[in-house]
């Protein structure tokens, strides 16, 4: 282009561009800036600075307009995000309103998003488990999707690397199906959770209840104090942003760390409409950004682009990045871009009561949430009529029952002097879903958003395998609860649409073969070697672990590889 302003182009040129500032984008920023690369992080939403921009963090319940409940008018305007458990007055300013960025639901899908610096890392449930080879080998063994191009040995050291910096609490449980990590002390199980753990251990050889592993500083190390973070104070108000930096978020950890290097440029209000591919150079040269305030479009340039926009938005950007070389979206020679989207099946839970251990209750709050049961179905061999399996949360608590009957002085008395309930126990399933070509996202052919980007069309649904697995979860948990002597066992099967799990994955999957996958074993595009995807879009399969820790490890590993490649002149 002859008219290009060379100076402006120079001013807009960085070593690296990272699209997105959430959990994986934050890691990319930290890794590149630490290694001395001038890094531009583009965030479509507003800035949220640690502590300063957590307006609700120190509020008491009565300091919210409606003691936490969003007004009915807000719920009616936002039926989708209102279905999310975290959409309350204390955190709704961190969640995307329905009309802010619409999408097309070819099939019902609740797309829950956080458009601000830090993204959903401010809001996540902070559960962090490693994958094992029982997970990475899943597609090959059980004949679905494509084979993962990596195995546990390829990523184990990167798990350690990110765990040490992020701060992960857990026990070394010695389970082959859920590898141990570099842990801070675990948050302990309570009396009833321990009891259930004992029952399961004595009745089942391959089922385990462990302390949930979570990204909280139970006992910070120097590296955490150096980030300006402090010990978790057991507030369990994490979704508001933590003034102690007690849990890991981009805002509390990776982004300020990156900023300290002097190599970070963070640009909020920047919607990336596409990644720019230069047909002559045969590589990507930068990205095209719409400023959401001015609506002006500006190009930014770099040697390498990391796409960490959040799984489905990463698909959107890549699909919308069309060139002569890639008429169907960047890197999409195979035609699989946007396809094989999967998620986690959270649609069943179960609760019950336990009459024993009344000499104990809990005091304070457990940020880990309680216990975790790693997947026990179809781990070592296929044993059911469905593929794969589910992990399960397990938690127990006693609450104050406050009798609301009657009026007057006696009512007041019974309200103020509650009675401890028996232990209430509960569990929820986290099922693996099988990526399929028919579960996909694509670009709307006729609708565009406020920034001129086509709306994302989402066609993702449950299938028969999910239904069978759900049924098995209810049966197995009922059996285990019965073994434990729990009473009033109450299954609760929800008909919620996919999406509410907020674990959407895939669309730009990793694989050995460029004909059936978008990314290679380094999260690098097969067809364009200076583009990397290390957020949920890269996932070949979902297994049952909460995914964020794996995104962090992929990102750090991928940056390491990208830097070596640049140094060797390959990129």
């Amino acid at each position: 282009m002859p008219n290009i302003n060379i100076d402006a182009a120079k001013a807009n040129t960085y070593d690296v561009i990272v699209i997105g500032s959430g959990i994986s984008g934050g890691w990319a920023a930290k890794e590149f800036t630490e290694k001395g690369f001038k890094t531009l992080v583009l965030e479509r939403g507003r800035d949220v600075q640690h502590i300063k921009d957590y307006p609700t963090t120190n509020k008491y319940p009565f300091e919210f307009e409606h003691i936490g409940e969003p007004a009915l008018s807000i719920k009616k305007e936002n039926p989708i995000v209102s279905r999310c458990y975290a959409f309350k007055e204390d955190a709704m300013h961190f969640m995307v309103k329905d009309n802010e960025h619409p999408y097309v639901q070819e099939k019902p899908f609740d797309w829950i998003r956080g458009y601000q610096v830090g993204g959903k890392s401010l809001l996540w449930a902070r559960q962090t488990q490693r994958w094992s080879d029982f997970d990475f080998e899943g597609p090959a063994r059980d004949d679905f999707a494509v084979d993962w191009p990596i195995r546990y040995k390829d990523i184990a050291s990167w798990y350690s690397y990110v765990e040490k910096f992020a701060g992960i609490s857990g026990n070394k449980d010695g389970l082959a199906e859920l590898p141990d990590g570099d842990f801070l002390p675990a948050f302990p199980l309570n009396a009833a959770e321990d009891y259930f753990k004992g029952v399961i251990k004595s009745r089942y050889s391959n089922r385990h209840v462990i302390s949930a592993r979570c990204a909280h500083l139970s006992k910070p190390n120097q590296i955490h104090l150096d980030q300006g973070r402090a010990k978790c104070q057991n507030r369990t108000l994490c979704q508001r942003g933590c003034p102690f930096g007690g849990y890991f978020s981009s805002n509390a950890s990776t982004l300020p760390w990156a900023a300290k290097t002097g190599n970070l440029t963070l640009r909020p209000f920047s919607v990336v409409e596409s990644v720019i591919y230069d047909d002559a150079k045969g590589k990507v040269t930068g990205v095209s950004v719409v400023d959401t305030n001015t609506k002006e479009t500006t190009a930014y340039y770099a040697r390498i682009v990391f796409v960490n926009a959040g799984a489905l938005n990463t698909n959107l950007i890549l699909l919308n990045s069309k060139s002569k070389r890639f008429p169907n979206g960047l890197g999409n020679d195979s035609g699989v871009l946007g396809k094989y989207v999967a998620f986690h099946n959270y649609s069943a839970r179960i609760s019950a009561e336990y009459d024993g251990l009344k000499q104990f209750a809990t005091d304070g709050r457990n940020p880990a949430g309680g216990g975790y049961m790693p997947r026990f179905r179809n781990v070592f061999k296929q044993e059911t009529n469905f593929k794969r399996g589910y992990a399960a949360g397990f938690y127990a608590s006693r609450y104050m029952e406050r009798d609301r009957s009657g009026i007057g002085g006696s009512l007041k008395d019974s309200l103020l002097h509650g009675k401890l309930s028996p232990w209430i126990v509960g569990s929820h399933m986290m099922g693996e879903t099988i990526p399929k070509e028919s579960n996909f996202v694509s670009l709307s052919t006729d609708k565009k958003d406020s920034w001129g980007v086509p709306l994302l069309n989402i066609a993702v649904a449950y299938d028969e395998n999910d239904e069978l697995m759900k049924k098995d979860y209810i049966e197995q948990l009922t059996e285990m609860f019965t073994e434990a002597g729990f009473k009033n066992i109450t299954p609760n099967v929800s008909s919620q649409a996919p999406g509410l799990d907020i674990h959407e994955m895939g669309g730009a999957r990793m694989g050995h073969d460029p004909k059936t996958s978008i990314l290679n074993k380094w999260n690098q595009m097969h067809a364009c070697n200076n583009v990397f995807v290390t957020d949920g879009a890269c996932m070949t399969s979902t297994s049952t672990q909460n995914p964020s820790l794996t995104y962090m490890a992929f990102t750090a590993r991928s940056v390491d590889y990208a830097v070596k490649s640049m140094n060797q002149g390959e990129i």
């Binding site: 008491y60 319940p61 302990p188 057991n234 000499q359 304070g364 009026i407 002085g409 103020l416």
Partner: protein, 174 residues
Amino acid sequence: MERRLVIKQVLIMAGGLALLPSCLREQGKSTIKLQHLDVSMEQENLLADIAETIIPRTKTPGAKELKLHLFVLKMLDDCYEEADQRLFMSGLSAFNEKTADQFSKSFRKLSVHQREGILTKLEKDPAPELSAFYKIMKDKTIDGYLNSKYVMTSLIIYELVPGRYNGYFPVKTA
């Protein structure tokens, strides 16, 4: 600080919620700003007396002092469907009329004993036209009480920063 003080004086504290006063200061209208409900001063006072009958002043403050009736109105105004709001308002009128019929004077003029008698009866066997009104009134009065600044900071202390977790906290079994 001074600016905060001024704002605090202008706002009406209900439970712990800070409510905007009604703008127009219209004669005979509710003291707080409501978007959907049309509540007269007289109705507001009646609600205050009902709330006080549900949660009376004992050695500690009751509903009136904590302005829990305004909490009820605020929640009803913002968080309930229009149909529920209508049922509440019509139930309130019916309640007023029924009481007047039975005692030849309004609820507000009755003794505490008489007021308790009316609500106790309503509690056990609510007339259909009163049930929705009374359920919302009682539920929200209790919610407002338990979530009030007074209760959360003086009686059932809400801990913003526990700083601990004990999963084997010994308690009496009885």
